[in-house]
Amino acid sequence: MRTVSVLALSAILVLSACRTQPVEAPTPLVGPFQVQAREVSGKVLVKVLDSTRGSLPEGTVVTLELATPAGPITARTVVKNGGASLSLTYHRAGQLHYRVTAGQRSQRGMLRLEAGSAVRIHAESQPRAVRVVGGPRPLLVAQPVDRFGNVPVRPVRILTFLPDGTSTRREATPRHLLMWTPLRAGTGVGELKVSVTADATRRELVVTDLLPGAASSGVLEAPAQIAWADAQGGWRLDAENLRDRRGNEIVTGSAVTYIGLGPQDLRFMATVPAIDGEASLNVAPLRAGRYRFFLQAGSLQSARVGLTARPGLRRGSFRVKRQGRVIILGPLVTVHGALVDTGTGVTATVLSAEGRSLREDVIPVVDGRARYEIPVLPPKARFIRFALFGEGVTTPLFKDSR
């Protein structure tokens, strides 16, 4: 019974898939006909008329097909009193191809649809900020659109306001759906404002920042030319009057690189941002000697400033005292008469007889003294060198030099 049911169901499914298609009635013969097409307020109106009496039999189905980028759109009607009228809504401006089919005949045609009045303008300048010196001109890109999103190919009026109060006026016409034109940026910094008008309906304001050029002039100064290598002080370096070729202060945030040339090939480099045309740096010398500093920014390389670093420690500071396995260094006194700051690191390097470094420790200064407890050392250890602020002393590890 179950098998019979399954077979019957299968048979029904197979037979239903094989049913015949309905046969359509034969269409009447159609003679030549005329087509009148026009566009009115976003509607395509097509009128079909018989060229000779009776060429369009009554009841003949007439089809209008618009070829659109999104695929064909069709409308149908039947012939009444020797003619037929069809309409389809379509808003896209440009060429529109259509086909009218009546019975076995069809006719093709083309309409040109124009954009309506601009109701909105998209406008943008790129880049949004330019340098008035050495930079490219900003480019205005605008696109007026009608209420259906079509771009009217009619002149767009551009009014430009420069920071110095002057303004210019010009016109440009959209091509390939966009209007673009370079803008004159002038020489002053500030804001470049642009007004765009199309069909006197809407205006939008576009703003471009006009920024200074790269630094081309400026001075480097050091209020104090002498510093002591004692980790307390240092030089203050002031870069001032950093300006572009037209005398504008360089933009805040511009990179200013300080470069220092010290004794024994000692070199320094630091980059800081300029603020209001100035850039300052506090730098402490690593060791005593003569230094020269200059700065680089944009195309500017400043004159060199000569500076001097003097020893930071008072003569005789590296006094070494032994207490069993402990070596005490100090008191370490700066040239200003103060004890070296607690926590300042003294580098203790254990050396072999040949001067090879065997071990290096950094010991903190406490109350002006550095205390080094001699650890378990390799047998070759002979000397120890203490160094601070680029100065130092070498002494035997043990009194008997082991």
Partner: protein
């Protein structure tokens, strides 16, 4: 009239089954409905799959992981069931419901399967043992596996019907058996495959052979006399096997077609279940000791059954036992060959712990009424036996509960993350149109994926990934890249360096370890979400296209996948209606399952009892001594200077600070609080973002007798740190003193001078750049990226030798040059290098990674190196015909602080540098770049990261290599014609360079990462 013992046994069996089902409901049900599975490994992955089917039942393409993958790569029944349940109770509870259903069905399956080979009451005991099984508890509540339990439940319920078919030639039984095998396949095809070998085949072998009483065969014809009995049954078994294979193919046909058309190319991913458990004891604990904990005592009893007619089951159990030992013995590798590196071998142990359950039940039954009970009573006395059984029960219960809560007190996953803020962020402003990456989420990334439509190039299902960047490396997930060591980070680096290739714009980081890599790869931190997750972003990433490319399956396969796997269990359950009026009689007639009591008057000779007791006692003593020695060694491990130092750094690495401080010999009144404070202020790469990968003692020097209090020692230790930016080595010396408590490291309070400059006011530049929003429809003019003007200096393609992992050297290509931001606004830059062959085909593409400063001030210049070491294919010099470089940028407002300066002193091969913090805030990780010049052109860039943070006014010395890499040679000048980009023959403003030995020169750049700066 006395009751029929077999009826009583059957009734007892059913009662025990009911007890076991209640226990499963109570123990596992409670835990499941409390959502303990969110801490497991796999549960959230299955929930993610279930979430997919809940939304797209008939679309097996999942675009949210790995840039898209086929779900036909995994049998879907469990996921479809979760999807169905989620419609009523949500995804997580849906998982709990399905898992609980699977466990209940499994309990019934164990009863039915056990009933084939042991008495019904023993089968009932087996079910109770299942409910308390540490293996099941671990599988469900630690591993979070669902398809494994569900498919095994179907399999164990199918086998008895197969048994009946083979024995009685009952066609209804065959239909039921085949349909239940189909359901098994729908849940997990591997269970059908291996289950046929380890469960079905031995069971059917028993039924084929068990009825043959070899000794009772008529003399003369020998064993041939058994053939008329064996052959028909064997034939029926073969037919059953054939139908099972047909089901295996048909039910998941799209899976087989997919695996043939798209074979897995993943290199083997290491799995601890393949390790030697004696060497990797943690793996041994998880993959051997815990699953076997509740049943291992019964193994000898099970093996003793080898001499009975149950030998095929015992043989299968033994084979599973051996395979489950992973790499401890060479046997599994020899047996499995290539599959050894693909399979996770813990599943063999799991199956073994299920297959032993009938023997556990049989042992308990034997203790109750059989010889084993008599034997144990003789050795342990009745009282001792009762106590032992009670202890066993307590141990099993406590063990099961302990294992089920293992994920609470031994974290396998990060703390639960509230994903709501992340989901909200991704939904906001069309952020889901970009891909995202999670870091440090563990398996919770799957839960996030289940709740968002945004996609990630990462994922948690290794078999499905096809991106060469993932299949070529043995890492599990990008989000846990650090756990795969250097190889894992290499893989992550590829994604972070070239994020535009994957439309990867956001990183949600739950692990600060990756912060330095993100920062120096050009990512910036947007902030912290309400759930504490750090959000990182990369500029200039294109959104995903409106429609993502996707392959299509033929409609018949889609229909099969959506219907058959779900229909299989439905049909299996409906097939039971075939038993409505004519139930199939299950086993017991062929073989005698009764456990025989000991013969009357049976006793164990007293001498033998004594011997056994002595042997047992000796075993316990040896065990106690072994445990004691091990404990003693652990406690006294820190009694030599080198061990103290190793222990100290180990404790520091795992943040066991209290334990580390006990190894300190404090000098100058160093208190624990002060020591902790000193540790915390020494921030930077080493202490904040590094993990110790190796501690090696270089040298120990003693002074005085090492065993005497007051003796001193110096230990030179080499610490190898593993960071997201690579490995670096620290060589430290510790001075130790022998104290009455043992060797201790001498430590003083940390003193650092703080110059007054840090209190001086310093102006900073902050930028106000409004955030952009991606427009949903079209692109408005306002959304066009504002691109600053950049200028590329001369760029050269070079080749050099890089040390390879095998100790040799391999030639590698790189581009070297400089980039200047000539715009008036700061720029966030991306520099891309391209290599083409003679046919103009692109053969390699990569971005500058960390050897560059990505965010540039107006007018700032950076050197850069683009290495072609992370590209998919090997690129050799001969292949390269042309090279191009492209630089692009967007206006940025982030990470533009410049507060470091650097003093340098050139040496012969090194440049000694001293980095100074000139600012007023701490510099967490400094980055120093040294450009080497040949003439006017930049030849190479060496760069390094400072290991420790720099306080304001502080300075740090750091040597830098000043020589070119070995085998360095220039191949060609690189073409730089790029749209919207200025290309300069010479740099706009030549970088100031300093003289080195010979005619070479150098320049330095420095910038830094500041913790917490957004």
């Amino acid at each position: 009239m006395a009751p029929d013992p077999s009826t009583s046994i059957a009734r007892d069996g059913l009662r025990l089954l009911a007890v076991a089902l209640c226990m499963v409901l109570l123990l596992h049900g409670t835990l499941l409905f409390n959502q303990s599975f969110v801490r497991t490994y796999d549960a959230l992955i299955h929930i993610f799959f279930g979430a997919h089917y809940a939304a797209n039942w008939f679309d097996p393409w999942e675009p949210r992981w790995y840039t898209g993958f086929w779900l036909v790569s995994y049998p879907p029944l469990a996921h479809y069931l979760i999807a169905l349940a989620s419609k009523f109770v949500g995804l997580k509870l849906g998982f709990a419901v399905v898992q609980l259903g699977a466990l209940l069905l499994l309990t019934v399956g164990v009863y039915r399967f056990s009933s084939l080979i042991v008495p019904a009451r023993a089968a009932g005991y087996a079910c109770v043992a299942l409910a308390l099984s540490s293996s099941i508890t671990e599988t469900v509540h630690v591993f979070g596996q669902l398809p494994t339990t569900l498919s095994l439940a179907f399999l164990l319920n199918a086998i008895p019907f197969g048994w009946v078919w083979v024995r009685d030639s009952n066609k209804r039984a065959l239909i039921i058996a085949v349909l239940w095998m189909a359901a098994t396949t729908a849940a997990h095809h591997v269970t059908t495959l291996f289950g046929s070998v380890f469960f079905t085949a031995p069971a059917l072998l028993v039924v084929v052979l068990a009825t043959v009483r070899w000794r009772e065969l008529p003399p003369g014809r020998g064993r041939l006399a058994a053939l008329p009995i064996i052959l028909p049954r064997a034939g029926r078994a073969v037919l059953f096997a054939v139908l099972t294979i047909m089901m295996l193919v048909i039910v998941v046909l799209p899976y087989w077609l997919w695996s043939r058309a798209d074979p897995i190319e993943q290199v083997p991913i290491p799995h601890a279940s393949r390790d030697n458990f004696l060497q990797n004891q943690a793996a041994g604990l998880v993959f051997w000791l815990i699953p076997w904990a509740s049943t291992v005592l019964f193994l000898p009893f099970a093996w003793a059954q080898m001499r009975s007619w149950r030998w095929p089951i015992v043989a299968s159990l033994s084979l599973l036992f051996v395979l489950g030992t992973g790499g401890t013995t060479p046997v599994p590798r020899a047996l499995l060959r290539g599959a050894f590196d693909i399979l996770t071998l813990d599943r063999f142990t799991f199956w073994a712990t299920i297959l032993i359950l009938p023997f556990v039940g049989l042992a308990v039954e034997s203790v109750r009424v059989g010889v084993l009970g008599a034997w144990l009573r003789a050795v342990l006395t009745r009282h001792g036996l009762n106590v032992s059984l009670a202890l066993l029960l307590v141990f099993s219960t406590v063990g099961a509960i302990s294992v089920s809560t293992l994920t609470r007190y031994r974290k396998f996953q990060p703390e639960p993350i509230d994903i709501a803020p992340i989901v909200n962020f991704l939904e906001k402003d069309l952020h889901w149109r970009y891909r995202y990456l999670t870091l440090g989420f563990g398996d919770q990334m799957a839960w996030l994926s289940a709740n968002t439509r945004a996609s990630t190039p990462d994922g948690n299902y290794h078999s499905a990934r096809r991106l060469p960047e993932l299949t070529a490396t043995p890492i599990e997930r990008l989000e846990g890249a650090k756990f795969s060591g250097t190889a894992g980070l290499e893989s992550l680096r590829r994604f972070l360096t070239v994020p535009e290739k994957y439309n990867l714009k956001y990183v949600f980081s739950n692990d600060a370890f990756y912060d330095p890599l993100l920062y120096f790869s050009g990512w910036h931190r947007l902030g912290t979400l309400e759930n504490g997750i750090a959000l990182w972003e990369r500029e200039d990433i294109p959104p995903l296209p409106e429609r993502l490319p996707r392959p299509e399956l033929p409609p018949y396969q889609v229909a099969m996948w959506g219907v058959l796997p779900v229909a299989a269990p439905v049909l299996a359950l409906l097939s039971l209606l075939l038993l409505w009026k004519r139930p199939v009689r299950l086993p017991e007639s062929d073989v005698n399952l009764t456990v025989l009591p000991p013969p009357a008057g049976w006793t164990l000779p007293p001498g033998r009892v004594k011997t056994i007791r002595l042997a047992g006692g000796a075993f316990l003593v040896v065990l106690a001594v072994g445990v004691g020695m091990s404990t003693w060694r652990t406690l006294h491990a820190a009694q030599t200077p080198d061990r103290v130092v190793m222990s100290y750094w180990d404790n520091i690495d795992f943040r066991r600070f209290a334990a580390a401080y006990t190894l300190i010999d404090p000098l100058e009144k160093l208190s624990e609080e002060r020591w902790l404070l000193d540790l915390s202020v020494q921030g930077g790469l080493r202490t904040g973002y590094a993990k110790l990968s190796d501690i090696e003692i270089d040298r120990v020097r003693y002074q005085g007798k090492s065993g005497v209090v007051g003796a001193r020692a110096t230990v030179q230790v080499r610490l190898r740190w593993f960071t997201a930016l690579g490995e670096f080595t620290d060589v430290l010396r510790h001075d130790l003193r022998r104290t009455p408590r043992g060797w201790r490291i001498q430590a003083r309070p940390l003193l650092q001078a703080r110059p007054p400059g840090r209190f001086m006011v310093q102006p900073q530049v902050a930028y106000a750049i409004p955030a952009r929003r991606l427009q949903g429809v079209g692109v408005k003019a306002g959304s066009v990226l504002d691109r600053p003007r950049l200028s590329l200096g001369p760029v050269r393609l070079v080749s050099y030798l890089r040390p390879s992992p095998d100790g040799g050297a391999e030639r590698e290509l790189a581009m070297v040059g400089t980039l200047t931001n000539v715009d008036a606004r700061p720029a966030d830059t991306t520099i891309t290098g391209l290599l083409r062959d003679a046919g103009g085909r692109e053969i390699a593409r990569n971005n500058a990674e960390t050897a560059v400063i990505h965010k540039l001030l107006p007018g700032e210049t950076t050197p850069f190196v683009i290495r072609f070491d992370a590209v998919e294919s090997v690129v050799t010099e001969r292949l390269v015909a042309s090279a191009a470089v492209d630089a692009k940028g967007v206006v940025s407002s982030r990470d533009l602080s410049r507060t470091l300066g650097v003093w340098t002193e050139p040496g012969l091969r090194m440049v000694a540098s001293t980095v100074v913090n000139l600012g007023t805030s701490e510099s967490t990780i400094g980055h120093l770049l040294l450009g080497l010049y040949q003439g006017q052109d930049l030849a190479w860039v060496n760069h390094t990261f400072l290991p420790r943070s720099l306080a304001p006014g502080d300075q740090q010395r750091m040597p830098l290599r000043a020589d070119l890499p070995p085998g360095y040679r220039v191949l060609m000048a690189v073409k730089r014609s790029v749209e919207g980009l200025q290309v300069q023959t010479r740099a706009l403003q030549p970088t100031e360079t300093f003289a080195l030995a010979g005619d070479r020169r150098y320049a330095v750049w420095v910038h830094d990462f500041k913790r917490g700066e957004e």
